[in-house]
């Protein structure tokens, strides 16, 4: 294997494959993530609502959202929370919590002012401007009635779930996404559902005599839901007519992305201990489940995983979106390479993309460029769902550190978790994770929701020698946030693509503005935006190291940019 010149410490970390690096060989790598949770002033503490009865829903909560709720240009943080389940007594009900980004790594709890402190049992969340009024709204997929918070544009929200018709009964929710299924310019809503849980159908399992959470197969599977936006603030449940509702599964994470490059948005759902779903969109909002033939349902061997989250990105810069799926312990988190023609291939072993994940339950995935070198690295949130797993299986652990795999640029990854700063020394049981530039310094920071504990906020302190660009889209004919739009960035010899997604990973939302690392390239030759509906805008000769906004239909595209702070 060639030694990538840009990876100064490659020789030192190559031995870290499969966690066997000798201590003396460790060296600092180019990805540096530091734990700034305490200084950020974020006092949120997650609860799973459990009382020791071990209801399955406790084990899979929750996600988080990184989005700009107040339109001030920086990214705010919204944590979902559990709620007391039967047998749990609390003095005050836990609630979801919104932190306003005040800059300089200071965050202020504005939950009550904003009116987003839902006390339902939170699982999945997505943010997007569903009513095209210029601000981002929030949808929360709960165990119990779901909540749609309409952003009032003044820093407050209104719960419009009932009026909008998206409360969705009493399902156990999972990931949720806004997407435009039919190219009509407004955002529709996909809600994955986990399983049929009631207190009555709870199965109290033990392992070697130790109480543990039941597995998904202890509960019946359920179909997912799809709601079409009527354009008037209301939605219609089209689960049946769209084909989505024909398939029952155990939905967890997912992403809505155009995997077959045909200009419409398809839906990926990671199923827990069952074949994953890939709903292929016919462009008119009707979906066919093609997971098996597309190669996404199972891994290389034809095995289903205890799938958790799905991240999306072009890891090999071949112009096609690839997918990274996290899963249960004793399974490798799996990288699916997009071969084109609607076919994916599990390349985990070829690429080493599962390194360090095998013993752990893996949750929030990230396929993001952490060192701005122009290729996407992997971040994997880890932690077992059994809080006492060591008592009956000491080959794994409940509280573990997360994993970072650096893309070497030649189609492989190396495990640099030991070398990328104190942020990867934190040992908790992580769930949802989000990535965005919280301090507007041009690199992606990380926020992790940890089950039953405080979150972890990681500041990206990787060396700043590499350049970058962040792109915010403003839809006009298509949806305002540009959800589903494909962006191609050409800088010298490097072409990268990405897409705007609302709600992805593990039950989380992040990345409304797209981030591209550029390496040492100081000029962007071309930016091409393909909007949902087919329109294309092109920007040429764009500057680097700034956030730019591209509005739909302006030709030449309007380009407003601001350099990094």
């Amino acid at each position: 294997m060639a030694v990538p010149s840009r990876v100064a410490s490659w020789c030192a970390v190559v031995g870290a494959l499969w966690g066997l690096v000798p201590c003396g060989a460790r060296a600092q790598c180019l990805i540096q993530l530091h734990d700034v949770t305490t200084q950020a002033g974020i006092g949120f503490r997650h609860t799973d609502g459990g009382s020791g009865r071990r209801y399955i829903v406790e084990s899979v909560t929750s996600g988080l959202a990184l989005f700009d709720y107040d339109g001030d240009g920086d990214v705010d943080v919204y944590f979902l929370n559990g709620a007391p389940l039967r047998g749990t007594q609390v003095a005050a009900p836990p609630k979801n919590t919104l932190y306003r980004n005040d800059g300089a790594w200071k965050f202020t709890d504005v939950t009550d002012q904003a009116g987003v402190g839902d006390t339902g049992f939170g699982l999945g969340v997505a943010a997007a401007d569903y009513d095209n009024d210029g601000d981002q709204d929030l949808y929360i997929n709960n165990y119990g009635p779901n909540v749609l918070y309409r952003n009032n544009g003044d820093g407050t929200f209104t719960d419009v779930s009932r009026q909008a018709g998206v409360a969705n009964g009493n399902e156990v929710g999972a990931t949720t996404s806004f997407l435009d299924i039919d190219g009509d310019g407004d955002l529709d809503l996909f809600c994955a559902n986990y399983l049929l849980f009631t207190y009555e159908n709870h199965v109290a399992r033990t392992s070697r005599g130790i109480p543990k959470y039941p597995g998904p197969m202890d509960h019946p599977p359920v179909p997912n839901n799809l709601f079409r936006n009527n354009g008037d603030g209301t939605f219609t449940d089209v689960s049946g007519q769209s084909g989505i509702g024909e398939h029952e599964g155990w939905g967890m994470g997912g992403v809505c992305a155009d995997y077959d490059d045909d200009g419409d948005t398809d839906i990926f759902v990671a199923n827990d201990v069952a074949g994953n779903f890939l709903f292929q969109n016919d462009g008119h909002g009707h979906f066919e489940e093609v997971g098996l033939t597309a190669g996404f349902a199972y891994d290389l061997h034809g095995d289903e995983h205890g799938s958790m989250g799905v991240a999306c990105g072009d890891y090999d810069n071949d112009g096609r979106l690839d997918f990274y799926q996290t899963c249960y312990a004793r399974e490798l988190a799996t990288l699916y390479r997009n071969l084109g023609g609607g076919v994916l291939e599990d390349v985990t072993l070829k690429t080493n993309a599962g390194a360090g994940t095998f013993p752990y339950v893996t949750w929030g995935p990230g396929l993001i460029d952490l060192d701005n070198d122009g290729d996407r690295d992997l971040f994997v949130a880890c932690g077992h769902l059994q809080d006492n797993v060591e008592l009956f299986d000491d080959t794994t652990a409940y509280l573990v550190r997360n994993v970072v795999l650096m893309n070497t640029g030649d189609g492989r990854f190396i495990n640099v978790s030991d070398q990328c700063g104190d942020g990867l020394q934190v040992q908790l049981s992580s769930r949802g994770v989000g990535f965005d530039d919280l301090d507007d310094d041009g690199d992606l920071d990380v926020v992790i929701l940890n089950s039953r504990r405080e979150p972890t906020v990681l500041r990206n302190d990787s060396p700043r020698s590499n350049h970058w660009i962040q792109i915010r889209l403003r839809g006009v004919k298509s949806n305002r946030d540009g959800v589903g739009a494909r962006v191609k960035v050409v800088a010298g010899d490097r072409t990268q693509v990405d897409e705007v997604h609302s709600g992805h990973g593990y039950q989380s939302h992040y990345g409304t503005r797209l981030h591209f690392g550029l390496g040492l390239r100081t000029r962007i030759d071309r930016i091409e935006v393909r909007w949902i509906g087919g329109g294309v805008d092109v920007v040429e000769n764009a500057p680097v190291d700034r956030v730019i906004t591209i509005a739909e239909g302006s030709n030449p595209a309007s380009l407003r940019g601001s350099p990094a702070r």
Binding site: A204, G302, D303, P359
Partner: protein, 547 residues
């Protein structure tokens, strides 16, 4: 080596069954049965016992490696087919106890050995047998405390067992191996590794221990470490079943498909019908994008096992890469069909999974292995206690019952032995050796009708068993009935196994049917085969005088 003992006489060892199948870790190997060879002469008793012991090991080893006993030759649990790094049962659930002794079991003690001393330091290990808690405690919230309590009791019991075993045999590698295995069965791999390291200090050439350590490394995702351990095991025991397969998994996990292919080729040399190794070969070629080779390997896998679900997935994938769309579709359809069946089996298994029962099975296996350690030290009384406890804990444990029955038979406790062999026949109704041994016990007890039925069933299941033919012939000859049939059976025994004792049996049958010339001829053949046997010579002389 292939000599037999007259099992109708006192002091004989039982016969162990040896399913002559390759230990395929997954898939559904074709299976044929052979009845174990034995011996007819009491002076060859020790050898016969050794053979039985080795064959017991073979049977148990096969089970341990993920195979199934012949009567369970249906679709295996889905877990055995899992991915490259997942040869273990699905996470979170205990691995069911294996039946493998960690070494070849030593020879059973001869019948005339004295029972071991009553001053056994572990005399008080036995506890009251449990009630059928598993059935009484469904997985509901209100039964959790009772299940925890029952499990705790079992763990305390097993802790006493292991402590006592190590105190009694601190320098016995088998004892450390057994205790390590028990710890592993309880999910304490760290403890297991410590015990197994001690075992290796005492017996550095234990390939089986290196193999087990490799499995733990693999479970932790430490493929390089697993590779090193399995290579070490192969240095010690180059033809140990499954080792090359495991090595290939570790290599594939490190992204070394070329090396994995080499390992799998060796595995296939050892076991040409190892379907899963052909499947893994396909996977390795797929990694290398050598699609034609991959396709051939998958095709061979499904030839060996037409219901290997995962191989059809591989075929579908590789056909798609080769542009063979119709074939790809067909294989996908077959895969989907089999996967649905697998899911059904998996679902049933998950729903029916009884953790307490699984724990009891694990503990029972610990008692079985502990008993074997005691037997090696001639502490037969204690061994028997352990095996009885194992039998109480696990009503389906084959190994402890085989040991108990052998012990009873060796100690002339035929009624008990017969009862156990009858249990074994119920547990494994297609295993001819249980009927054969039951026949031997019955014959010794002069229960001719029972013996006749048992030998006949054994012949039905294993038509090429000389032992069963000879046994039934002897029953008829002793009862002085069905003499023509007895002669035919004896003749068949000679054909199947032309050894001196069988010629003597034929001579006896011929004598009873009045054919002294053929009897003489048969005895002369016996003398020719065993010229040093004075008994045979005397019989020859007697027949000549009568002629």
């Amino acid at each position: 080596m292939r000599k037999r003992v007259d099992r109708l006489r006192a002091g004989a060892a039982p016969v162990a069954a040896a399913p002559a199948v390759r230990a395929t870790r997954a898939g559904r190997p074709s299976r044929r049965l052979e009845v174990a060879p034995g011996m007819r002469s009491t002076r060859l008793l020790a050898g016969a016992i050794l053979v039985a012991g080795i064959l017991t090991f073979v049977v148990a080893g096969w089970t341990w490696l993920g195979g199934e006993t012949p009567q369970k030759a249906q679709r295996p649990p889905v877990a055995v087919q899992r991915g490259i790094l997942r040869p273990m049962p699905s996470a979170g659930e205990p691995k069911l106890a294996s039946n493998v002794p960690l070494t070849d079991p030593p020879a059973h003690p001869p019948a005339d050995l004295p029972a071991d001393s009553p001053v056994d330091p572990l005399e008080e290990v036995l506890v009251e047998p449990p009630t059928e808690l598993s059935e009484a405690l469904p997985p509901t919230l209100d039964t959790v405390p009772a299940r925890q309590l029952a499990a705790q009791g079992l763990k305390e019991e097993v802790a006493e067992l292991t402590t006592g075993l190590l105190e009694a045999f601190p320098n016995d590698a088998d004892a450390w191996a057994t205790v390590g295995k028990i710890a592993q069965g309880l999910g304490n791999s760290g403890e297991a590794m410590e015990h197994w390291q001690r075992c290796l200090q005492l017996a550095p050439n234990r390939a089986d221990i290196y193999s087990e350590l490799g499995m733990i490394a693999l479970c932790k995702g430490e493929c390089e470490k697993a590779e090193a351990l399995w290579r070490k095991a192969l240095e010690i025991q180059p033809t140990m079943p499954s080792l090359y397969n495991r090595l290939a998994r570790a290599l594939t996990g490190q992204g070394k498909p070329r090396e994995a292919i080499a390992a799998l080729r060796k595995d296939i040399e050892i076991s040409p019908d190892a379907g899963e190794s052909h499947f893994l070969l396909g996977q390795a070629y797929l990694q290398l994008e050598e699609h034609l080779s991959a396709k051939q390997a998958y095709q061979r896998a499904v030839e060996i096992d037409p219901e290997m679900t995962n191989a059809y997935y591989g075929l579908a994938t590789v056909c798609a890469r080769l542009g063979e769309r119709d074939q790809s579709r067909e294989h996908h359809a077959k895969f989907a069909e089999l996967k649905a069946e697998d899911r059904h089996v998996l679902k049933q298994g998950k729903v029916a999974f009884d953790d307490l029962l699984a724990l009891r099975i694990t503990v029972a296996q610990g008692y079985t292995d502990a008993g074997r350690v005691c037997r090696r030290h001639n502490l037969l009384w204690r061994a028997e206690k352990h095996w009885k406890r194992a039998a109480e804990l696990d009503v389906k444990n084959i190994g402890c019952r085989q040991e108990l029955a052998a012990l009873c038979l060796a100690n002339r406790r035929e009624p008990e032995a017969l009862s156990i062999y009858e249990q074994l026949a119920q547990l494994e109704p297609n295993n001819p050796s249980h009927y054969l041994n039951a026949g031997i016990c019955s014959a010794r007890l002069r229960q001719d009708a029972t013996a006749e039925k048992a030998f006949a069933r054994s012949i039905e299941l294993a038509p090429h068993s000389a032992l069963a033919h000879g046994g039934l012939a002897q029953v008829y000859l002793r009862a002085n009935r069905n003499l023509a049939e007895a002669r035919a059976l004896a003749q068949k025994a000679v054909e199947l196994e032309p050894i001196a004792p069988n010629y003597m049996l034929l001579a006896q049958a011929c004598d009873k049917t009045g054919d002294l010339r053929t009897a003489l001829s048969a005895m002369e053949k016996a003398v020719e085969l065993e010229p040093g046997n004075p008994h045979y010579k005397r019989i020859v002389e007697t027949i000549r005088r009568r002629l």
